[in-house]
């Protein structure tokens, strides 16, 4: 029992690993900020193309969402980071992660936005257009605010997935939370830093998950 505690919940080792892991957490935070903003923005663009009446916009958007939802994000990431150099394209770990996740997240966020946009009734479009608002004005002032509100829990839920996904960045040696924890594990020869990393993810994401559930229940009511 004691050895179990020493191996997994060793507070001394956790304390020692903490400064390194805090720098990892900071990197994770920066990574999250980048990929969430990129994903939300990219997803919106893809979704707007997807609901467009113009076929030449709709078609590429459907292909995009299909491909990047089917392609495992880890495969995409390693291809961008380790595969593209064979074509002479060298790219930093951070940029590789940002690009891979922009592609992956945009596809998922786009599906969420799309559901939101379609949840706004045709009557809202017609009422707005009948008052002389253009297609774009109708979208930005009338449809999108309602669409986002209708799918807020799903956007949030997807964002939790995105945060968890950033731990994949450890495979391209980006020193984010998991990477630094694993580093600390190999230095200290003790699993406690990994447990600490898991706890940090849990503490950050659990309230958000709770919030999503409450939102969903409120919307269902």
């Amino acid at each position: 029992m004691q050895s179990l505690m020493d191996q997994f919940f060793n507070l001394e080792i956790m304390a020692k690993a903490l400064p390194l892991m805090l720098s990892g957490l900071w990197m994770t935070a920066k990574l999250c900020a980048a990929v969430i903003v990129l994903g939300l923005g990219g997803g919106l663009v893809v979704a707007l193309a997807n609901v467009s009446p113009r076929r030449w916009l709709r078609f590429p958007s459907i292909v995009f969402t299909d491909i990047f939802r089917a392609l495992p994000p880890l495969v995409l990431l390693i291809f961008i980071y380790s595969g593209l150099p064979f074509a002479g394209i060298e790219i930093s770990p951070f940029a590789a992660v940002a690009l891979a996740f922009l592609l992956n997240n945009s596809a998922y966020y786009a599906e969420v936005y799309r559901a939101g946009i379609l949840s706004v009734g045709k009557g809202q479009w017609e009422a707005a257009r009948s008052t002389g608002l253009s297609q774009t004005q109708t979208l930005t002032s009338v449809v999108l605010p309602q669409a986002v509100r209708n799918v807020l829990p799903d956007l949030l839920s997807n964002t939790v997935e995105v945060v968890k996904l950033t731990s994949l960045a450890s495979v391209v040696s980006l020193s984010e939370l998991l990477y630094t924890a694993n580093m600390a594990r190999s230095i200290t020869y003790n699993a406690s830093p990994l447990v600490l990393a898991a706890l940090i993810y849990l503490v950050i994401l659990w309230p958000v998950v709770r919030l999503v559930s409450r939102f969903q229940r409120r919307l269902a009511a």
Binding site: G123, A128, T131, G132, S134, Q137
Partner: protein, 247 residues
Amino acid sequence: MVSRPMLEIVSLQKCFGDNVILRDINLKVAQGELVFIIGPSGSGKSTMLRCCNRLEEPSGGDVIVDGRNIMSGTRRDLDLMRLKVGMVFQGFHLYPHMSVLNNVTLAQRKAMGRTAEEAKARAMDMLERVGLAHKADAMPAQLSGGQQQRVAIARALALDPLVMLFDEPTSALDPELVGSVLAVMKDLKAKGMTMLVVSHEMGFARETADRVIFMDGGVVVEEGAPDEIFGAPKAERTQAFLSRVTR
């Protein structure tokens, strides 16, 4: 001198694939006139109304508003035309995420380019006119159906339209709320608004309409003064329809 019609519909046609909704509609509405359209469901009356601001794209024919053909011109022209043609829907379609006031100011600001102050002043005048100035800060969900519809009317009026189209404005309302909306429409008529109304409120038509049009199967079957249409309809289809709805 005969004044030119405010709204003119010339050989309007609309079909969805092989399904012909409107065959050959011709209609003139003079300034200040209230033309009331009746007919069985599926007769094409709502589609005709929706062609008048091109929410529904006509398959053929022309719609002329205040001397301008709305079938020609750019997309921007179409948006500008829509400012001149107000529309009120069966389902109200207020924007649920905005206050009553913002519902009425939105298009004034974005489509007309009025300043926030101008738009607000105009909105308050129009809300006053429909008896809902005190609800300016309420959200649509807090209003009754009748109140929502009156806000929808104010929203259209705030854009200074030349013509108002009403697409079954009271059909979705509880009976006790219908009167308040009809009263607003009557007041509009008294103030000289040109109106094209699709509705089943026959009593209102008798009292307020200048002309009644009976449509069936995508054509105008009969038209005349309310007394003629309701009192002594000539066409068999009109008689059959009226006997069904007025018994």
